[in-house]
């Protein structure tokens, strides 16, 4: 299998981010809330990336930020995925009123931008990690639902699925042996896109002060803390911003590659 350069870069960067997130405690030179320097110090041997608005080591906070950002994004996209894919497959295979109820509910949720729905919900709900993951996961599951329902419905009308039903196969066999193997690659690519969406979403919420709360720190929150420095020419806010962008772009490159591979596999021979 040949991997194009862009996808390779994406894979390596994504790998590095994951590694840093998992081993943050061992890699970070300082503890997350250690005030060990002055305000907005420049890069030095002591603080490789300088210090933040109250003198904490930016590198250490970035590393811990990777952990919390990736954890929350991964948890909510896993939730979105299992919920959305399960219900989407169910709707496609069962059809009838189950499909109607699920599809109309999803239409309703998607009729309003996710950020607005989330803001309305967060004005009432307590702000903690569980709530954030649940809100983001459930909102995002609507998109997974639409995709997996469409993919499964496309496959469910194929002759080989009909052949399996005529053979007398049970629904479980049809879903797991006939439909799922053919739906896998578009769903894997979709998982990448959902993960990016979750990273951007949690960062945005934190930036607005409605996401991850201190003493925990994520990248969106770090941008918020350090944004005033920009006026004085202190670029501390740009580092977490760049981290968000780098993570999103690398995952995007990988997802893009998986998507093109899938579509070329589907392409038949011309006549």
């Amino acid at each position: 299998m040949r991997i194009p350069l862009s996808a390779l870069i994406g894979l390596i960067l994504t790998g590095i981010f994951l590694f840093v997130a998992i081993f943050a405690q061992w890699i970070a030179p300082y503890a997350i809330n250690d005030v060990s320097g002055g305000q907005w110090e420049g890069p030095s041997a002591k603080f490789w990336l300088g210090t933040d608005t109250i003198g904490r080591d930016i590198l250490s906070r970035l590393i811990y930020g990777a952990q919390i950002t990736i954890f929350v994004a991964l948890a909510s996209s896993l939730l979105a995925f299992s919920l959305g894919a399960f219900l989407g497959f169910l709707a496609a295979v069962k059809g009838g009123w189950i499909d109607q109820v699920l599809s109309r509910t999803v239409d309703l949720v998607m009729a309003v931008p996710s950020l607005i729905v989330a803001l309305v919900m967060l004005s009432v709900l307590p702000l903690n990690l569980t709530v954030l993951i649940l809100v983001m996961g459930i909102l995002d599951s609507t998109r997974v639902f639409r995709l997996s329902r469409a993919v499964a419905a496309d496959i469910a009308v194929m002759d080989f699925v009909e052949a399996a039903r005529l053979r007398g196969e049970k629904g479980i066999w049809v879903i797991f042996r006939e439909i799922l193997p053919n739906a896998l690659s578009p769903l894997v690519a979709e998982f990448g896109l959902r993960f990016i969406f979750a990273v951007l979403f949690i960062s945005t919420l934190s930036f607005l002060g409605l996401g991850i709360q201190p003493p925990l720190a994520d990248w969106g929150g770090m941008v918020k803390e350090n944004k005033d420095g920009l006026i004085y020419g202190k670029s501390a806010a740009l580092l977490p911003a760049a981290a968000i962008a780098a993570l999103a772009i690398s995952v995007n490159l990988v997802a893009d590659w998986i998507l093109t591979r899938t579509s070329s596999l589907k392409g038949g021979r011309g006549g």
Partner: protein, 318 residues
């Protein structure tokens, strides 16, 4: 009734129904979540008597459905209630800010829409060649940036690297149109950057889709000039998908506005919303949320209606 009129009426009815359902979710759904408005105002230390008093005063003892219809009736007559935090009339507070939000979004749209269509055309025309690759590469990057990240990079570039703008965008009544334009320059750049990528990618896909049709080959085999092929054969079929792409992305712009307003301290609807979410001021959040939802639903509906109107099969039934 002409079938096309029937479809349009159906689509409008669906839009209104959706809006009604969304209003119910915003009001009743939020009621169902754990949390209590009276508690939110008085804080955790409030005595049970004080809570009961406040509930009585605010009408919170009435059944939710009754309050929903009171709320809905109020909205239809322009009465959005009062903010919990400062007792200000919500409708008045929204009025001025809505104008500011629309001004910002409008400026961004005026720049982004033609630019996206032109870039989309260029990318489609040179599909697979270097102009397409450059444009696609840049848009893939900007698509990966959340609005606020893009905003701070833009701020850094235009206030520090090349200091030509102010990092805040203040507009106030009585400001001249030109001064207002100058004030919103930076937020507009950010919004354009973010919306452009989506809009351009979708435009490119829509045009490529049309250009691959068999009737385009027929036109080429007629020996028509490339301009005639595009103008007479591609354009009439591409207009519906492209307009619908534009509409969908304008809806996307509505959300982008919220974050960008907060970044630039731009006194408009988005910042007002976020501010009151933080303060847990439910009546304000519900009213503003409904306005954003209404704009979004309206734009999506417009996209669908244009699609219906442009479909020759529906316009000229058998």
């Amino acid at each position: 009734m002409h079938p096309i009129l029937k479809l349009v009426v159906q689509r409008i009815a669906l839009g209104l129904l959706l809006l009604l359902a969304v209003s119910a979710v915003i009001f009743l759904g939020v009621e169902a979540l754990p949390g209590d408005t009276a508690q939110a105002i008085l804080g955790q230390q409030a005595t049970p008597e004080a809570l009961a008093n406040l509930r009585e005063k605010m009408g919170l003892n009435q059944p939710p459905l009754t309050r929903y219809f009171q709320w809905l009736g109020g909205i239809l007559t322009g009465d959005l209630g009062k903010a919990l935090t400062n007792g200000a009339d919500i409708a008045t507070s929204i009025g001025q800010r809505l104008g500011n939000t629309l001004f910002l979004a409008g400026c961004a749209a005026v720049i982004a829409v033609p630019l996206a269509i032109i870039l989309g055309l260029v990318a489609a025309r040179y599909a697979g060649k270097w102009p397409d690759k450059v444009i696609s590469g840049i848009t893939l990057t900007t698509i990966s940036l959340p609005e606020f990240v893009a905003a701070y990079f833009v701020i850094y570039i235009f206030t520090q690297a090349i200091p030509i703008f102010q990092p805040v965008a203040m507009v106030f009544p009585g400001m001249s149109f030109w001064a207002k334009l100058q004030a919103v320059a930076l937020p507009v750049i950010v919004l354009v950057l973010v919306v452009l990528a989506h809009m351009m990618r979708m435009t490119r896909a829509a045009i490529l889709n049309v250009m691959q049709s068999a009737y385009i080959e027929t036109a080429e085999l007629k020996g028509l000039s490339p301009m005639t092929v595009i103008w007479k054969h591609a354009f009439p079929n591409a207009i519906a998908p492209v307009v619908s792409v534009v509409m969908l992305n304008l809806a996307y712009l509505v959300v982008g506005v919220v974050v960008v307003e907060v970044v630039f301290g731009y006194n408009a609807l988005g910042q007002y919303l976020v501010d009151h979410v933080t303060k847990r001021d439910l009546p304000v959040v519900q009213a503003v949320g409904l306005i954003f939802a209404a704009v979004y639903i309206f734009l999506n509906m417009a996209a669908d209606i244009i699609g219906i109107l442009a479909n020759p099969r529906l316009r000229h039934p058998k």
